[in-house]
Symmetry: C2
DNA sequence: GGCGTGATTTGGATCGTTCCAATCGAGGGT
DNA sequence: ACCCTCGATTGGAACGATCCAAATCACGCC
């Protein structure tokens, strides 16, 4: 009598299908059928079982079910930098779509650290992730890609592609976006246009710079390598990059930025230098993050719809997970130019400031 | 011979401890001991097994292990709004700490929707989350709290507290932060100070407004209810709120804002209205998000260290998970005022603008 | 009253691991 | 030669669900 309460109060044994069966007067097999909404069970039987579920406070053990069925309701999302609003939005779209499809999301933030990325992906694999959506950390090598391919698990890359990996990817058409943005500046009469920001190694930068180049060349303008300045992918990088180009002998009159965040830094630096944005110097960003509409003046930028990228990568992964024969193709989103207030006509040649 | 390749290429059976045992010439029990680094196994035996692991490409099945051991390496993180940079940082700190402790994070973004919150938490429970870190969606009722308490699973709330829930929480000292900020404005000579933003219902707002009130009353200033204007928790809300107070008969000369995001909107509206920030009107934010140092002028704000909040909630949860008797106490972080450029002395009484 | 038929229900085996009590083998002591 | 100890290894049962083939039930019909 004195031990009874103690035994009961703490850590009581988990309620199982067998318990439910006993309580409802049926077998565990029948209970299992009820749990999975099988049309085989008689209505009254189902109600009996459902009452027992309620009464005993049963909790379905999905991982036991997964073990037996050789499936999993887990999808892994591995993101390089969640504190970047662009990737945060992407993550939200992704998780939303996965949840709607009945999956639970495993999440890890790698902070651009390939070693951490390896660790977390390994851990997620062991926990039974049925698939991966991966935005690879910078510096992820071809070796990592090969290992991943060897895992024989559906993987969808988003935004960034691993070198030489045949894994499937959802990406914006970076080249197109950059080209359209550059064409806009050209149409406004700009002839010396810089490309600011981005890190030399990554495919995203390569593609965006490629689009920029293509536009200039199509307009018959020689690309000046001195006007392409990589930088850190944050606000400070933008500040640095702008300072670099205004110090040139023949400074540019406009800049296409690798990202909005870099563009924010560029705007900071322009203000600091006393240059009129959209008048003395025009700026285009890339991404269209939430903050872009709130700069002064509001930032003209290339929208790439991160939330939609997230949703599509979820869809692509689910497709790969269902059909084993599904091709690991690429899904390319068309970006679009959002014209706001940071671009104006090129200042007259030789006009002083 | 013709079927052989086909059978092998696709969906080969999973490698198990039994397979490893067979390959290494030991029993599955011994393999299991090796996997768990037991000191019981002889070195040579261990090496034999490890070679087999390598050779067969074995993947540990942690959920099978969890099933048997009645444990779980999964922790659930339920966040109201990941697109808010404040919560994104919190999430990153949290995930980082959990990963370091050997846990894998289940993540869900509720988008402030209590129904979705119920759904995802239920799904996570079934999946076997060993504990929850929850930043409750606005509108989460006492009913939800009661249900959650009935689950008998370790829960730590972060930033927000559910009404009447004895669940444990990690929160900043909102009242203190607001008081210090208000005291700063008082010291600068301001006498009519507004509190802009926040939603009336939430505990965070109540606490921050409370601190603001306390400071004013301590200075012998009657609190004018007309100067406390709630708003949406985004930039637009800040714009609205400022417009409201400048239209008053006796407008304030300074504002303490519910959050940095609201403060950003307030700065936008001040610019729009042609009021000099820090000269005609002083502003203090709350949170110190990354963007706060980049406004023009840089925003004076109350730092609450979201990443640290994340880390501490991880630590608090892990403590609760290990010791069943651990108290569900509160962990309160001391915020601090970060002085930048948006506050100046109160304009002279009656001076025109 | 026996039988066929379709609708329900059921017990054993299974998923991959860990726990546990039992076993095995090599020395050591007498 | 025998017993005992101790380190190392092992097979059976268990975790909580599902699958599957077989059993049971209800009912109409000859």
């Amino acid at each position: 009598m004195n031990t009874g309460a103690k035994e009961f109060g703490r850590a009581r044994r988990r309620v199982t299908v067998t318990d439910l069966g006993r309580a409802a007067g049926v077998s565990r097999s029948t209970v299992s059928l009820v749990l999975r909404n099988s049309p085989l069970v008689r209505r009254e039987t189902r109600e009996l079982v459902e009452a027992a579920i309620e009464r005993l406070g049963y909790v379905y053990n999905r991982s036991a079910a997964n073990l037996r069925r050789q499936t999993s309701n887990l999808v892994a999302m591995v993101i390089n930098d969640l504190t970047n609003p662009f990737f945060a939005e992407l993550a939200v779209g992704l998780e939303e779509a996965l949840e709607a499809a009945g999956y639970v999301t495993l999440m890890a933030n790698t902070g651009e650290d390939p070693a951490r990325q390896r660790r977390v992906m390994e851990a997620m694999r062991e926990t039974g992730a049925a698939g991966f959506v991966l935005c690879p950390a910078m510096g992820t090598g071809a070796g990592d890609a090969a290992v991943l391919a060897g895992w024989n698990v559906p993987v969808v890359q988003v935004m960034r592609r691993l070198p030489g990996a045949r894994l499937g990817a959802v990406v914006p058409d970076n080249a197109l976006g950059a080209r359209v943005a550059a064409e806009r500046l050209l149409a406004l009469g700009h002839r010396r246009i810089a490309f600011l920001g981005g890190s030399e190694a990554t495919d995203v930068t390569t593609e965006r710079v490629g689009g920029y180049r293509a536009a200039l060349e199509a307009a018959g303008i020689a690309v000046d390598p001195g006007l392409i300045v990589p930088s850190a992918l944050n606000r400070g990088g933008g500040v640095e990059a702008l300072r670099t180009v205004v110090a040139l002998d023949r400074p540019p009159t406009a800049a296409l930025c690798f990202s909005d965040v870099v563009a924010f830094g560029v705007l900071d630096a322009l203000n600091e230098a006393g240059l009129g944005v959209g008048r003395d110097f025009s700026v285009v960003g890339f991404d269209d993050v939430a903050g872009a509409r709130h700069t002064l003046p509001p930032l003209t930028t290339v929208a790439v719809y991160p939330k939609e990228l997230g949703r599509r990568s979820a869809a692509a992964l689910l497709r790969r997970m269902s059909g084993p024969g599904e091709p690991a193709g690429e899904n390319i989103l068309t970006p679009s130019l959002v014209v706001r207030g940071t671009c104006g006509p090129a200042p007259r040649e030789g006009a002083d400031r």
